[in-house]
Amino acid sequence: MKCPRIVRFAGLAMAGSLLVVACGNDNAEPSAQTTKPTAGATITVYSGRSEKLIAPVLADFTAKTGIEVDLRAGDSGEMAALLVTEGDASPADLFFSQDAGALGAVEDAELLATLPQETLDMVDPAYRSQDGRWVATSGRMRVLVYNPGLTSEADLPVSVDDLLDAKWKGRIGFAPTNASWQSFVTALRVLRGEDAARAWLEGFAANDPIAYEKNGVVRDAVNSGEVAVGLVNHYYLYEKILAEGQDAVKAKNHYFRNGDPGSLVNVAGVGILRSSKNVAAAQALVDYLLSKDGQTYFAEKIFEYPVASGVAQYDELPSLADIAPPSIDLADLRSIEATQELLSDVGLLTK
């Protein structure tokens, strides 16, 4: 009665491998782990990233290594709660989280294994756990998406502080419940202190920003001219261009530079469960995600910033060196609950 996962994955695997072969066939060298001690194994992955985003890269992994993946996807925080509740009895081998906070929580519960140094060394120290128990697999940046018909490029803000100017009154869109927006506010608290963050939020609230349900809706509102600018993640624009074609999309991305909190980089990442009985196979998946193939998928197919293997970001994106995002310890972004309280307090989260 059940359409077996294997059948579904086989289909995805074929599609996925075609994609990856098409976009990177010059680096088809197998990763170290393909030398079969783990082929035929099945690993269980708990994921806070949506199945739709990661199914192709997992299918490709299975095609290349023979390791099957059982995927359980949900909210990152709920998956972390699931892992913490399961403890050492967890059936999961690997946790793939949408953000560093959930990984940190599972790490604090002493459920993650230490990753090999050579795996850790593939990723910039800013994008991995200080105790070596998780690594980032890709990054996303906060940007200002704008409608060139409604604002000239010269008028665009240099810093998020410029958004408090009266000329933006009622012209900014944002998604109050979105986790990345809340991470940005958390970064503001960490970088500038509670009082300054509150002052910025009060100024922002006084400028009557328009609240939308999700980042994608903010982007669409900017594109259609409902609002002039919107605070979103960098890849939403490219998703729309991919879906509807460049001609249909007027909106453009504007980047904050030189350490401005507005260009916060947040990461998705992975950790291996200490209780895993398939460590080798789980490690093979970590290595695959950080390999040229894995990183190319994140860069080319879902337009995220790659973090390893020298893979370059998508053509349209500025390099991280160019932007100079604010430097922040990702572990400090854990205090999202306090951020939500602050947002509620200044009237930006709830009604």
Partner: protein, 519 residues
């Protein structure tokens, strides 16, 4: 009129009833262990924060308004479909009940995408009232239909006005149905997250989810959940006071005549206006919204194989949950309706407590118990069914109890006087008489299990994809044209059990009476 007798619950009934209570209290047990793991001081610190009080007030306010609105809408719906001479009242009743088939997260999103300005308290009130009023309407309609109309004729002939008859005679008799439905509504509102999240109205459930999603702190979530457990206990106690001692049971039979329904122009016009508003708000907005998502991107073909797979998975989970829930609910329902005692009401109340807890809390508590005690079944069907059962048990208990209370205890007494033992009477008289109610309880559990999300996400067997999880999967990436087919299918598929619930709860109620009917 009180036909429940204060007697000892017979052991063959008491044992499974106690077992049901123990199962129902798994989440409360988990919450207590988890919450007090770091000492009572920590519990008070987490609860006594400035925000907590504020959130309790907001939740109480929302619960009160939605419960009151559901009672009004539900009672009006019941009155329109049982007392006004409208054509096609059976169809109308099913249409009124159909919002049961729409998950609150879905209808909230439908409202928001149509009217973004509705965000906030009143948006949450609209969505939750639409989701909940059928829980009042169905038992009230059943009670109205089963009332002995000769009493009303007598009251009228003695000079009482229509209004006096309504308030003085009819309402007191349907009051137990109203309060029982109202209790389910209030508990559901406390537990709901989908609607308040989409409407951005911060309630107590909001902080519990926040403790998981933003705080990564299951023990804080457990502590906060204890507040909901306490609220549930208060509500259950209030309800049993409000229900009063009077049972809505007609002991004898009336004469075999049909009630004359109101056909006065004022009543008919009022009924038509009320019907159109209820259907338009409860059914029209979400259905039109979902259909518009379908049309948004016509070039993409619908993955029918996946939709079919999701229907099958949903159906199987719903069916197994329904069967398991009925088995657990039946002894509780019989004990609560036929053997009223402190014991049976304690057992009954204990099954209600979980209904105020958000799905994620129940899921995590089943994870906690399951991975330690039932490891081989972990993330397999039995544990998923257990999680669902915990959530929907009170719906089934209420439906069964309501149905048994509406049948006369005299027949059971007759059976006993003819020499049948207690269990034989239950097996051969009580249960057969309650069959429509049992069927309604099963269908109600099934339709709810099919649209349930948080427990399904954490406890489903790997690779299982229900209609609800598919909707979730695509809506997290804002792919609404892909959500459309699953959302529409979910509404259509769950419409079937909804129609069954309606027909078994209300339309099967004989009027004026089947037991001892005078032909």
């Amino acid at each position: 009129m009180n036909v429940g007798r204060r007697v000892r619950v017979p052991a063959p009934l008491a044992l499974p009833a106690v077992a049901a209570a123990v199962i129902a209290l798994i989440p409360a047990f988990y919450l207590a262990t988890q919450a007090f793991a770091r000492g009572a001081g920590n519990v008070w610190d987490e609860i006594f924060q400035s925000r907590t009080w504020d959130l309790i007030v907001r939740s109480t306010w929302l619960t009160a308004v939605v419960t009151a609105a559901s009672i009004v809408v539900g009672t009006v719906g019941a009155w329109v479909t049982t007392r006004v001479a409208l054509p096609g009242r059976a169809v109308l009743l099913v249409l009124f009940a159909l919002p049961l088939a729409i998950p609150s997260y879905l209808s909230a999103f439908a409202w928001i995408s149509w009217q973004p300005g509705l965000e906030g308290f009143w948006g949450a009130v609209i969505v939750l009232t639409c989701a909940c009023y059928p829980y009042v309407m169905l038992p009230v309609a059943a009670a109205l239909r089963g009332l002995d109309s000769t009493q009303e004729d007598v009251a009228r002939s003695l000079g009482r006005t229509q209004r006096q008859v309504m308030w003085g005679l009819v309402l007191p008799q349907v009051r137990p149905s109203i309060t029982a439905g109202g209790l389910l509504v209030a508990l559901y509102v406390l537990s709901d997250f989908g609607a308040v999240a989409a409407m951005r109205y911060e309630t107590f459930t909001w902080v519990i989810y926040g403790a998981y999603r933003a705080g990564f702190n299951p023990s804080r979530a457990a502590i906060l959940s204890l507040v909901l457990v306490a609220a549930a206990l208060i509500l259950v106690t209030l309800e049993s006071r409000a229900r009063g001692r009077a049972g809505a049971v007609r002991i004898g039979s009336g004469v075999g005549r049909n009630r004359r329904n109101t056909a006065s122009p004022r009543a008919v016009v009022g009924a038509v206006v009320a019907s159109l508003s209820i259907i338009g708000v409860g059914l029209g907005v979400p259905v039109v919204s979902v259909i518009s998502w379908l049309g948004r991107e016509t070039q993409r073909s619908v993955p029918w194989a996946d939709v079919r797979g999701a229907i099958l998975d949903s159906f199987l989970i719903g069916l197994l949950t329904a069967i398991a829930t009925i088995l657990v609910a039946l002894p509780v329902g019989i004990a609560a309706s036929r053997y009223r005692s402190r014991f049976s009401s304690a057992v009954e109340r204990s099954t209600y407590v979980t209904h105020a807890l958000p799905g994620i809390v129940i899921a995590i508590s089943v994870v906690y118990a399951g991975i330690r005690l039932l490891r081989p079944w972990y993330q397999k069907l039995p544990l998923l069914v257990l999680g669902q059962l915990l959530i929907f048990l009170p719906l089934a208990v209420a439906a069964i109890r309501n149905s048994i209370e509406q049948s006369s205890a005299r027949i059971e007494e007759a059976a006993k006087s003819l020499g049948a033992g207690t269990m034989a009477t239950i097996r051969r008289v009580t249960v057969p008489l309650a069959l429509p109610g049992i069927g309604a309880a099963a269908a109600l559990t099934m339709l709810n299990a099919m649209k349930e999300l948080p427990t399904t996400l954490l406890l489903r067997p790997t690779g299982w994809e229900t209609l609800a999880t598919s909707i979730w999967k695509y809506s997290t990436v804002s792919d609404y044209s892909a959500v459309g087919p699953y959302a529409l299918t979910l509404m259509i598929v769950t419409a079937v059990p909804t129609a069954i619930v309606t027909s078994l709860t209300v339309l099967r109620v004989s009027r004026p009476s089947s037991p001892g009917r005078q032909e």
